[in-house]
Symmetry: C2
Subunit: 255 residues, 2 copies
């Protein structure tokens, strides 16, 4: 539970997010995949193709134990139990249900808004491949946001428990957000992300690959990923077990 | 069916393969995931965790129609039918069953041999995440090999049908391979891939990300991806329908 380690992990997740977004950008916007009732998928009326794919993916992932990891929060609620035992080392977190910090609803909405910014307009009929790429991008973004939400908040709490206990007890949301905000760090992150987006794509053959504008990713980080992470940190702190911090392993096992 | 277009598509798939291998390299070798009977997964005795994950993934993908695409060949045989209609434009290919060109067996073996070359040794207990990354890397590698196998071979056939019809009828495998081989192009590809592996990783924070040696990927391309593609081209040509090239849409729909 060291802020340096957590920041480094968040930095590592940037690469993953960028790679997944570049993968999605190789297909057109294909907006029909986001429209409920237009999936053409047997037995799934009223859902979009993305919603269906996301459910199938999470149903599989749940059986492999993915959602036992604190930072892996599902977009769906009704998922099966794991079919294997996943050993989670002591996380150091103090919350009785990780889904109290689940921002997948707003992540999904913000992501669908991002797609026209990274993909060429129109429809290339590659609907299946598009939603596969969507799901991987969404999972990478959600992992980054939830990892930051949980561990940055816990870390900051430990650095100054008296201050945060007081803020939490008085439900001072603005005070908590102020305590969590470091504008200089945020500026550094969005600059670094934009640089990476540009750099990774420098040697790409633009005849065969669509290239993402770094500014679009910078804006998405600034307007969604960072604010959602802070919202998640706030939610973690408001739900943190303060009186008797139970050891993590006593928490009920859930998906 | 232009060789330039096909080569460009193959070049684009390089980026995808490299990104997926970099993702896998963030975990340790975790060799237990490749050992049959050691998965700890309910109801799947005698299989490795990778085999189980690969089956679940392909079962899902099959329902979304992935294997209607000629270049998407599954690693498993007993998969469900699609639950949606996938419109495949006329491919121009002349083969009655795409699985006559399915090299997934040797791809899987070669890939498991590659893992210790890109990952740090040991076990980090991230078994679930490792096999997820394995599956995505395998799918990207297989797509490249099967795309090349089918389309490069068909393209070369069309450029010189008399020559290939003669070679096919006399089952002259060595003559076919000689016709398909262009050493200068192969050298260019492996050099370009190694450059990309180095370049993509240049600005990575090596404290948090494991970096892949470009030479390892160069060797894998040279010794496996390119030879497997040529083997697939040979298999395509030996199975090509020569007498009456049926239009693709009359082929039986399969997974």
């Amino acid at each position: 539970m060291e802020l340096d380690f957590i920041a480094a992990r968040l930095e590592g997740l940037e690469e993953t997010i960028i790679h997944k977004l570049i993968d999605r950008a190789q297909f057109r916007v294909n907006s029909i995949v986001y429209i409920p009732g237009q999936s053409g998928f047997e037995g799934s009326k009223g859902k979009s193709l993305l919603e269906i794919r996301l459910y199938y993916q999470e149903e599989m992932d749940a059986q492999f134990g993915r959602y036992r990891q604190p930072e892996e929060r599902p977009f769906n609620g009704d998922l099966p139990l794991p079919k294997r035992i996943v050993q989670i080392p002591d996380t150091g977190l103090a919350i009785d249900d990780y889904n109290k910090v689940n921002l997948t609803g707003e992540i999904l909405t913000s992501y669908i808004g991002l797609v026209p910014g990274i993909c060429l307009p129109g429809d290339d009929r590659q609907h299946g491949s598009s939603v596969v790429a969507d799901v991987y991008a969404l999972q990478a973004i959600a992992e980054r946001i939830h990892f930051g939400s949980l561990y940055v908040a816990e870390c900051k709490f430990r650095d100054n428990p008296d201050k945060y206990i007081k803020l939490i007890h008085s439900k001072d949301e603005e005070g908590i957000i102020a305590g969590l905000t470091r504008k200089d760090v945020e500026d550094l992150i969005i600059k670094r992300v934009a640089d990476k987006v540009a750099y990774i794509q420098t040697r790409v053959n633009t005849k065969v690959r669509n290239v993402i504008d770094p500014e679009v990713i910078l804006t998405y980080y600034r307007d969604y990923i960072i604010p959602f992470t802070k919202k998640g940190e706030l939610r973690y702190l408001l739900n943190r077990i303060i009186e008797t911090p139970l050891p993590d392993k006593r928490y009920p096992p859930h998906r």
